[in-house]
Amino acid sequence: MASRRQNIQRPGQPFNLKLYVHIHLHSFFSSLGRLARAPFNFMMTVGVIAITLSLPAGMLVSIENLKAVSGQIDLTHNLSIFLNHTVNLDKAKALAKNIESNNKVAQTILIDKQTALEEFRQYSGFGSALSSLGENPLPHVIQVSPVISFNNPAALKSLVIELKQHPEIKLVQMDMSWLERLNALLHIAQRGVTLITILLGIAVLLIISNTIRLELQNRRAEIDITRLVGATHAFIKRPFIYSGFWYGLLGGIGACLLVTLSLWLLDGPTNALSSLYSSSFSISYMSFGSIMFWLALSVTLGIVGSWIVVTRHLNDLEQ
């Protein structure tokens, strides 16, 4: 017998886009309606997903902020040159001039050992201990600010090697070595966050799978009856996959809100702190790109998690 029914899913019949969109919109919104009918369960799952994802998202944005801080310090790092004890003040002054004439150097400041000692005595609290030493233990120090274009680690190192040629110089210290350490730490932290993201991503996948599995169990009779009247697997899967989509989307939005809220709470204290150091640093929030990343990730996890569970369930059925 010839079927007069329009049947969008049957292979070999012309594809009807309008009908296709209509069916999808129908189950898209009916899935949301169904979730809204059990708002407590729904919000609980969304909340768990949001908190789980906010951990790696928050860590990542913190690392970005720390990187910005270290990037700012990068621009101001200097070299300290410690001279031999045998070098007298005149020679030190001449050397400072000499170094300043190097085209890689913007400026030099000579801190003579007498001034250094006074300052140290004043601020360190070791005043009396220093007096008992008799002789000034400090050397003359020249502080070197390189020209901006030489303000990268490799160029700076070549400058250090050049300076070390001078016999009067005992030690050249880069003030940036702690910065390199910080950057290395941030690099490791970033890897750690990648690992944490993978683990917590799997956790979200399991949360969503389990939620969808419970939903499948609750709607067992409905699924059986729907199959009885000729529903395809695709038709039965669709609302569950949309449920997964909603869990993922709302969980992702929740995670971004949590991170933003936390950053906002830190914003005031951070501004106070950075103005204390006369730094222009202020907290940067999640970028549009990273918000999109976390939303895409959680939506993908939602869809994949529900798809796996529903497909397995339907394939396990006999007929």
Binding site: M1, R5, N7, E222, R227, V229
Partner: protein, 221 residues
């Protein structure tokens, strides 16, 4: 339309064959009753047609297609050609009468207006117009069975299978339900009804297929 050729069915769990070497044919537009004692294999036979079970041996031919062989993914399309009615109605109890009857149309992707028109027509036929928004629980047993029938016929299948549709109803309601099936048969639908209400069946005078212990003992009226 429908033909069983040496069909046997053995359930993986059960020992004996639920159906043994069954042969019969049902022509297009024909109406027949399937009778037999409890456990004779009536439900099993209907399940083989709707592909709720598969035969262990033999061929079940529907429209000259051996449906025992079709791939799982084609099963839904075969079920859409068959309106199934059950003794326990199999309705969705948290959905309105309208939604229950609309289900076969929704899964095959009909338009909104079309669904409305056809659901109302089907409910009109079974005498339930005006009860679209009721929940099945709030209806009587006979009315619930009518909802099941409306759902089975709403997408105009060429064949209706009913498994003890009057099993829980009093004689008067049973007769009314049977009359509904007669009306569908009169407009060309092939009807096969499993029942052990022998008095009612013989009064109606249609062809009888009788099963006993899984064997077809009579297959002509």
């Amino acid at each position: 339309m429908l033909q069983f050729i040496n069909v046997s069915k053995r359930y993986p769990a059960g020992g004996a064959d639920a159906l043994k070497n069954v042969n019969f044919e049902l022509g297009q537009g024909e109406m027949a009753f399937l009778t037999g004692h409890s456990g004779a294999g009536k439900s099993t036979l209907l399940k083989l047609i709707a592909l709720l079970e598969r035969s262990t041996q033999g061929q079940v031919m529907l429209d000259n297609q051996n449906i025992g062989r079709v791939a799982k993914r084609h099963v839904p399309y075969i079920r859409r050609k068959i309106g199934m009615i059950f003794q326990d109605h199999r309705l969705l109890h948290d959905r309105s009468v309208f939604d229950n009857v609309a289900l076969p149309l929704i899964i095959s992707g009909h338009r909104h207006q079309e669904i409305h028109r056809r659901v109302r027509a089907a409910l009109d036929k079974v005498g339930l117009l005006g009860k679209e928004q009721r929940l099945p629980i709030s209806l009587s047993g006979g009315e619930q069975q009518r909802v099941g029938i409306a759902r089975a016929v709403v997408n105009k299948p060429p064949m209706i299978l009913a498994d003890e549709p009057t099993g829980n109803l009093d004689p008067e309601l049973s007769a009314e339900i049977m009359q509904l099936f007669e009306q569908f048969n009169q407009v060309g639908v092939t009807v096969l009804i499993a029942s052990h209400d022998l008095a009612l069946i013989s009064r109606m005078g249609y062809r009888q297929l009788t099963l006993a212990n899984g064997e077809m003992v009579t297959s002509n009226g």
